[in-house]
């Protein structure tokens, strides 16, 4: 933006901080009023700041939002007020302290855990997190996830209702409760990341924002002594490694570029360095999660100077270890893909035979795309083309569809 004195995304990031801090004071059941108060505050700032930005814009916003929330609560009917209980339990802290930087971080972390609470529908969790922590509007979430605005609005209402009706606590789980809850948080962050990374959206900006938010949330976990676990570090590393390649995944014509043809000079190596550092923290304990293996595989790709120089044997090894702790059809498919790369065609086919394409759900096209690759390597162009046609029938994402179509055309034009 043209205004040098105000940080980009200040409003959006501040939105999440203000919501979290106010939720800490007024409680999660009052989220709707809190969101209104924060919205009103930004509208006020838009006008009040026209002649100049205040010394401390974050502080200005936070104070204005707090006052606005108190205002709105005053306007509530006596009945509604009776239900309102300001958090005064053991977790209560002095009002002034809620707005300290460290307490705001803590409040945002609580918000992440609440968003990923097991009693909230998983699909609602992503929408709710993007709204409440990232400050996206329902319209922006809908556009990023390629869904209807109405759908997102419904999910947000449902999430808020679950939170209020279950009277969810606004806190970071402790002791034995923490590990399973943290696992779910990591899963949701990875889902948000993948929405960006594998998005069917052509606009790289939207995709970068989703990936960026997942990274930002994960960074919040790493800033807290209880949540900076090896798995969290590994997920962070994994997302850094993938993000480094984001720019080169799509060319100027908005076409997908596969790993083989990516311009490796476009990979963003500062992010790789950050990922490497996180990885060294992640492996300290010697216990490896799926994120560890996935990060190791991504790192291996980044290490290779060219596609041909890729150490496929090592990658295959990692995939096998990954499959041992997480025997999914996706990992089986990846094993088959790597085996094709190193010319173990028949072994790859054996893996493919073990996969039921419908188990891959909306990614079933990947199975047929891989099968097509197998046939082309075998020299059976006819079967390759019929497999890729199968894939084309199933693929929904326009960018990937175009990619498969180009491949098919190339094969058709090749001399037999």
């Amino acid at each position: 933006m043209g205004n040098p004195k105000i940080m980009s995304h200040l409003f959006r990031h501040q939105y999440g901080k203000m919501i979290a801090a106010l939720t800490r004071i007024f409680g999660p059941s009052k989220l709707e009023i809190i969101e209104d108060a924060v919205q009103d505050t930004f509208i006020k700032a838009m006008v009040a700041w026209r002649e100049g930005i205040p010394e401390n814009p974050e502080g200005w916003l936070m104070t204005a939002a707090k006052n606005r929330a108190i205002d709105l609560f005053r306007k509530l009917s006596a009945d509604e007020k009776r239900v309102l209980k300001i958090d005064s339990g053991t977790s209560a802290i002095a009002l002034g302290e809620v707005f300290l930087e460290s307490e705001i971080d803590d409040a945002q972390l609580r918000m992440i855990f609440m968003a990923c609470h097991p009693s909230i529908n998983p699909r609602d969790q992503i929408a709710f997190a993007l709204k409440t922590i990232s400050g996206f509007s329902s319209k922006e979430i809908a556009s990023a996830l390629l869904l209807k605005d109405e759908t997102i609005k419904k999910r947000l209402v449902r999430a808020r209702k679950s939170i209020a009706s279950l009277d969810l606590e606004f806190k970071i789980p402790q002791g034995a409760d923490l590990p399973p809850r943290l696992n779910r948080v990591l899963e949701v962050l990875y889902l948000i990341f993948n929405e960006g990374f594998h998005s069917g959206r052509k606009e790289i900006l939207v995709r970068k924002e989703l990936c960026g938010e997942a990274l930002r949330f994960c960074q919040m976990l790493l800033n807290n002594p209880f949540t900076k676990t090896p798995d969290a570090y590994a997920l962070f590393a994994l997302m850094c490694f993938h993000s480094a390649r984001l720019e080169s995944k799509v060319n100027a014509q908005n076409e997908i570029v596969d790993l083989k043809n990516q311009d490796r000079s476009k990979w963003y190596f500062p992010l790789v360095a950050i990922g490497n550092e996180a990885m060294s923290n992640a492996v300290e304990s010697g216990e490896f999660s799926t994120y560890h293996y996935e990060a190791a595989i991504a790192a291996e790709h980044l290490k290779a100077k060219s596609f041909e120089a890729t150490d496929w044997e090592k990658i295959l090894q990692y995939y096998k270890q990954l499959f041992e702790i997480n025997p999914t059809v996706f990992n089986m498919l990846n094993i088959a893909i790597v085996k094709l790369q190193i010319g173990k065609l028949d072994k790859a086919f054996q893996n493919l035979e073990k996969i039921q394409p419908s188990d891959l759900e909306q990614r079933a096209y990947l199975y047929f795309g891989t099968k097509a690759e197998y046939y082309i390597l075998k020299g059976d162009k006819k079967k390759a083309i019929s497999s890729i046609e199968e894939a084309l029938k199933l693929v929904k994402n326009d960018v990937e569809k175009a990619y498969l179509q180009r491949k098919k055309q190339r094969w058709e034009n090749q001399e037999a």
């Binding site: 933006m1 509208i43 838009m46 026209r50 002649e51 996206f136 319209k139 922006e140």
Partner: protein, 121 residues
């Protein structure tokens, strides 16, 4: 030089459900307009933004108690005056040129330009 009032008419931000990102962008545009006027040496003599609540007083009756009072909010008023600036300009053309920088045309905003009358004392 004459004084002109630029009156901003349009829907209010409250009614628009803008996202924080959109609000920051829109705010930045206003700030830029202000900066541009400053750089161009436009003398701004004043201006205010207005709250969105509107009370209308009407009724031909002379008796105050017979007048009608109507309260409405921005969402109900289509042609809401959101604020105004008073600027110095050579003539109406110059004032129009200044008004081109108003940032909310894209959301249906309008600028009304009125020359301020000067009375001989």
């Amino acid at each position: 030089m004459k004084d002109f009032m630029l009156i901003f008419v349009g829907t209010s931000y409250e009614a628009m459900d803008l996202s924080p990102e959109e609000m920051q962008k829109r705010y930045g545009n206003w700030f830029q307009w202000q900066q541009k006027m400053e750089a161009d040496g436009v003398v701004m003599k004043g201006g205010h933004a207005l709250h969105s609540g509107v009370r209308q007083v009407s009724g031909p009756d002379r008796k105050i108690t017979n007048r009608t009072l109507t309260d409405s909010t921005s969402a109900e008023v289509k042609e809401l005056v959101g604020g105004y600036y008073i600027v110095s300009a050579k003539d109406i053309e110059h004032a129009t040129e200044i008004a081109q920088g108003y940032p909310d045309y894209d959301i249906g905003g309008t600028v009304e330009i009125r020359e301020i009358m000067v009375f001989n004392r």
